[in-house]
Subunit: 326 residues, 2 copies
């Protein structure tokens, strides 16, 4: 039996987990600050150190490890093992040989995957998506990422970029998105979009407790705060989540009519709002989708939290190692 | 070696083809009016007669036929072999046992498939989509239908309804669609939508030759006529196709970011406009899609014309017969 290591490179922290895939468990978790401003070489050295130190801490020899899976938040070239564009890291990491660097520094086989595809795969195998053949995942946080599992396989599409469900256009005349398009669902329902609606409500002098809650320091209005206000009955805050849930529902509806998944998993920080977000989302689907049996599609919250990515990419590494060996 | 028969039930005509799948050819094609107002029993009898008469005409015994594939334009229950909702046929055919009726009347094994999924499958195997692993098809006519082939398999999704690419929302505040949703791409870029833009241009007194071309009988303004006017240099008509192509491009872009196909095939009557429609479509993709390598996606016109559905459903029947036997 081998363990697999999943490493999740984030803008703030690098997380690593030693994963027992048969048991579906992270047996040990470690984390270290990314310190991304020090540049990619320093960050990659820190990632490798985290892997090696995890092994030492648990008295595991390298031979006990099958392979390492590494996720990064952005566009990757899975064949070359390089990062192409990590928008949230300083320098955006164009053509950084992430796979070979981690391999050289650890001596372990390394496989890469986009962070949200890893979350998708983890939730499908071990979390909220268990047991279905076809599943879509939306991860709603600073941006909106996504992923698809189709017929029991993580769907990658050309260049491994399929699953960018947050960049579906839901209004072709809509506001500009960071990606260069207009009217992506990310513009309406991401964390920053939700926070901006809260700020706007205060600035426009609408009846809401949001301003008071932050002592009128509007930078402190976050999706979590708006969620809290909504739970206290603040109508304006409820309306903000209704709108975000509706917009997300339109994007989910597009995936339903196109791909027909059995389950849709909503992950990411904003999903913590639970039914505040999911109820209007589900309502939107049932109102809008008539060309497929939307009542047979379950829309659920993710279950694995921050472990999903580490577990998903460990699984991905195990499968790719097997393929490479056969 | 066996032949397979593909039968395509349309609102106006029933078409049947005897298909040589190894050669990728329709070896004999027959057609008869649907006369849909006579009701489903009469229509199904006519479909069965068309099959039997095709065999007689070509002196083929039933034993020379592997199976029959039948397409219908609408929502089907593939497991039960029934039609659920054929919006363009009188009575809409709720719960009509199409498969068993054709089987009882012909003695041949029968398999069903939605008409546009059959076109998708036919174009993928024998037409414009040959050789790619993952392909999307949009069939633009009275409505906009679609289909997906993913990793070399026709993708059906739950209930066999995946691929309704024309009912993707591209403006969540948009006009009502026949399906009950708002702002589906079908509302903007289907044949009737294109014709309506032509009628509107004349009524609003814009500078266009469209009115003159039909002697101001506005019912005669069709997508084909607007296409003809555009080719004569009518700026208003060119603009109509630019708009329809842009809208279709937004829906295609949504499929690119979600599914990442290598090829997108545009089929259906409206696709006959060729680059008049495809040039703005391609431009839209290149302007809007940055999160996947859109320059690696080919957008092409369908190649098989009205044979695509017959060939696709014959192939579908052959594969299902093989599965049933194994």
């Amino acid at each position: 039996m081998s363990y697999y290591i999943g490493v999740d490179l984030g803008g703030t922290n690098i997380k690593a987990g030693i994963v027992d895939l048969d048991a579906g468990k992270v047996v040990a978790a470690h984390s270290t600050p990314t310190l991304a401003r020090e540049g990619h070489d320093a960050v990659m050295a820190r990632m490798a150190d985290l892997i090696v130190n995890s092994l030492t801490a648990h008295r595991l020899a390298k031979t006990a490890i099958g392979a390492v899976g590494v996720t990064a938040p952005g566009v990757l070239d899975l064949e070359k093992g390089t990062t192409l564009f990590l928008p949230n890291l300083p320098g955006t990491w164009p053509n950084v040989p992430l796979r070979d660097t981690i391999h050289a520094r650890t001596g372990l086989p390394v496989f890469m995957l986009n962070d949200v595809r890893a979350i998708t795969y983890g939730e499908w195998k071990f979390g909220a998506g268990r047991g279905v053949e076809t599943m879509a995942c939306f991860a709603v946080g600073t941006g909106i990422g996504g992923g698809l599992v189709i017929n029991g396989k993580l769907h990658l599409g050309i260049g491994g970029t399929a699953g960018e469900l947050g960049h579906q256009t839901i209004d072709f005349n809509g506001p500009e998105c960071g990606c260069g398009n207009r009217g992506c669902v990310e513009v309406y329902a991401s964390g920053p979009a939700i926070a901006a609606m809260g700020v706007k409500a205060v600035i426009q002098g609408r009846t809401t407790i949001l301003g008071e809650m932050v002592g009128y320091d509007l930078n402190k209005i976050t999706p979590e705060l708006i969620c809290e206000a909504a739970r206290k009955g603040d109508a304006e805050s409820i309306e903000i989540y209704n709108f975000a849930g509706m917009c997300l529902g339109v994007a989910v509806a597009n995936v339903l009519v196109s791909v027909g998944p059995r389950k849709v998993v909503i992950a990411g920080g904003v999903a913590a709002a639970g039914d505040l977000l999911l109820a209007p989302l589900r309502r939107t689907i049932h109102e809008r989708v008539t060309v497929m049996p939307a009542d047979q599609v379950e829309v659920v919250q993710a279950r694995l939290g921050s472990k999903a990515g580490v577990m998903g990419v460990a699984l991905w590494a195990a499968e790719n190692l097997r393929k490479a060996g056969s």
